[in-house]
């Protein structure tokens, strides 16, 4: 004797929607597999410089990973050379996924427009 029950039409609809969701996930995973991955390539660029009311200067920097793999512990360095003196600041981003961008702000006492400002990724780890 069977104790099984027939699946109702409502259950069949839920099953169909579930199959669609899982199918979509499988297609996305396959898409990632076919696209392959490229090595992490983090890069930094200055997006704007703002003078603050207290006289300091905020340098907004966008750090983007142009590659497909994740970069870890991305070290970003900003160096301002002005009047023979170099002021340097560092920041670290824990994880930067492929094609992900993050915004950083560096703070300087002098106007970066008056000197030579170099912002660059100085290193990262491969997780």
């Amino acid at each position: 004797m069977s104790t099984s029950r027939a699946r109702s039409s409502a259950e069949r609809v839920t099953f169909a929607v579930a199959c669609f969701v899982l199918g979509l996930v499988v297609v996305l995973i396959l898409g990632e597999a076919v696209a392959g991955s490229t090595a992490a390539r983090p890069a930094a660029e200055v997006t704007r410089i703002e003078r603050q009311p207290d006289g300091r200067f905020f340098v907004a920097v966008e750090v983007g990973n142009l590659g497909g793999d994740t970069a870890a512990e991305v070290q970003v360095t900003a160096a301002l050379e002005l009047g023979g003196r170099t002021t340097q600041a560092d920041q670290t981003i824990d994880f930067l996924a492929g094609h992900e961008t993050r915004d950083l702000v560096f703070v300087f006492d002098d106007d970066p427009e008056d000197g030579d400002l170099v912002v660059a990724v100085s290193g990262f780890a491969v997780p």
Binding site: A10, E11, A18, V21, G31, E32, G98, H99, E100, P127
Partner: protein, 286 residues
């Protein structure tokens, strides 16, 4: 148990039960940044392997417990429910990650996929045991003969007190391990006022669904309970306020910065989400 509800209502209740079970099981892992990071550097073969590995234990759970009121007897039904459980886990994890701003339109596809898949694991496992979660309890058969049973003379006073106590303990139990972490301020800092309101609404909805809509602990009896706080809407709102107070107290306890005020509000609402779910679980447990 034979239900008088039509098949669509039964199915809706089963799905709400599945979502609730997933939330009860999965929310603590949502507030773990290491899981987000693991998801961020997951390759496509690893994602496929994770999905395949997840199906095994969820199938076993569906064969023995599951999220439906009627247990699965046939392997075929358990397999269908396994696909549904994993899919619901993925959808719920995605929605919560979006609400918490951990997945946005700017999130790269691989990063979002990795995060969602890793976070969906505890959700799917929770869905697999949803029907056995907190089954019985205060309103269960053993309590029906007691003087303080539902509708009893002293229920009007003891019920609300028990609920307040249970909501407080449940909220503290779940939120205690999350409050000292960096994830709370990290998530709060990414949420503007509009998203905080969305999270507030999601917290209330999850709390209501777990206690009054998922069919745990003989919810019909809970709907009929007497007392000043025992209307479903009132109990849900009061329990959420308790969850917020517990969240604020824990943030203070762990010195996670109660000032400035706008920042505190965000942190309290962010921690209030798992606290509200813990409070709902607590109310089911008494």
């Amino acid at each position: 148990m034979v239900s008088d509800d039509g098949p669509w209502m039964v199915e809706l209740r089963d799905v709400v039960r599945a979502v609730s079970g997933g939330l009860l099981f999965g929310v603590p892992l949502l507030y773990t940044m290491e899981v987000w990071w693991v998801g961020s550097h997951t390759t496509a073969p690893q994602m496929a392997g994770l999905l395949l590995l997840l199906i095994g234990p969820v199938f076993v759970l569906n064969k023995t417990a599951g999220f439906r009121a009627d247990p699965d007897v046939r392997t075929r039904d358990a397999l269908a429910d396994t696909i549904e459980a994993v899919a619901i886990g993925i959808v719920v994890a995605s929605v919560v990650l979006v609400v918490l701003r951990e997945v946005t339109v700017e999130t790269p596809r691989r990063l979002a996929l990795g995060k969602v898949l890793y976070e969906s694991v505890p959700f799917s496992l929770g869905i697999g045991v949803a029907h056995h979660f907190l089954h019985g309890g205060r309103s269960g058969p053993l309590d029906d003969d007691s003087p303080s049973g539902p509708g009893g003379a002293s229920d009007a006073t003891r019920g609300p007190l028990a609920d307040v106590g249970a909501a407080t303990i449940g909220a503290a139990f779940v939120a205690f391990s999350i409050a000292p972490t960096d994830e709370v301020p990290m998530i709060a800092s990414a949420m503007g006022p509009a998203w905080l309101l969305v999270l507030l609404g999601a917290s209330l909805l999850a709390s209501y669904a777990i206690v009054f809509a998922a069919g745990f602990s003989r919810q019909e009896l809970r709907h009929r309970q007497q007392g000043v706080l025992q209307r479903p809407a009132t109990e849900t709102v009061v329990s959420y306020l308790i969850a917020l107070v517990v969240a604020a107290a824990l943030l203070w306890l762990f010195q996670r910065g109660l000032r400035p005020w706008p920042s505190l509000l965000g942190r309290v609402v962010v921690l209030g989400f798992p606290a509200a779910i813990g409070g709902a679980a607590g109310r089911l447990a008494v």
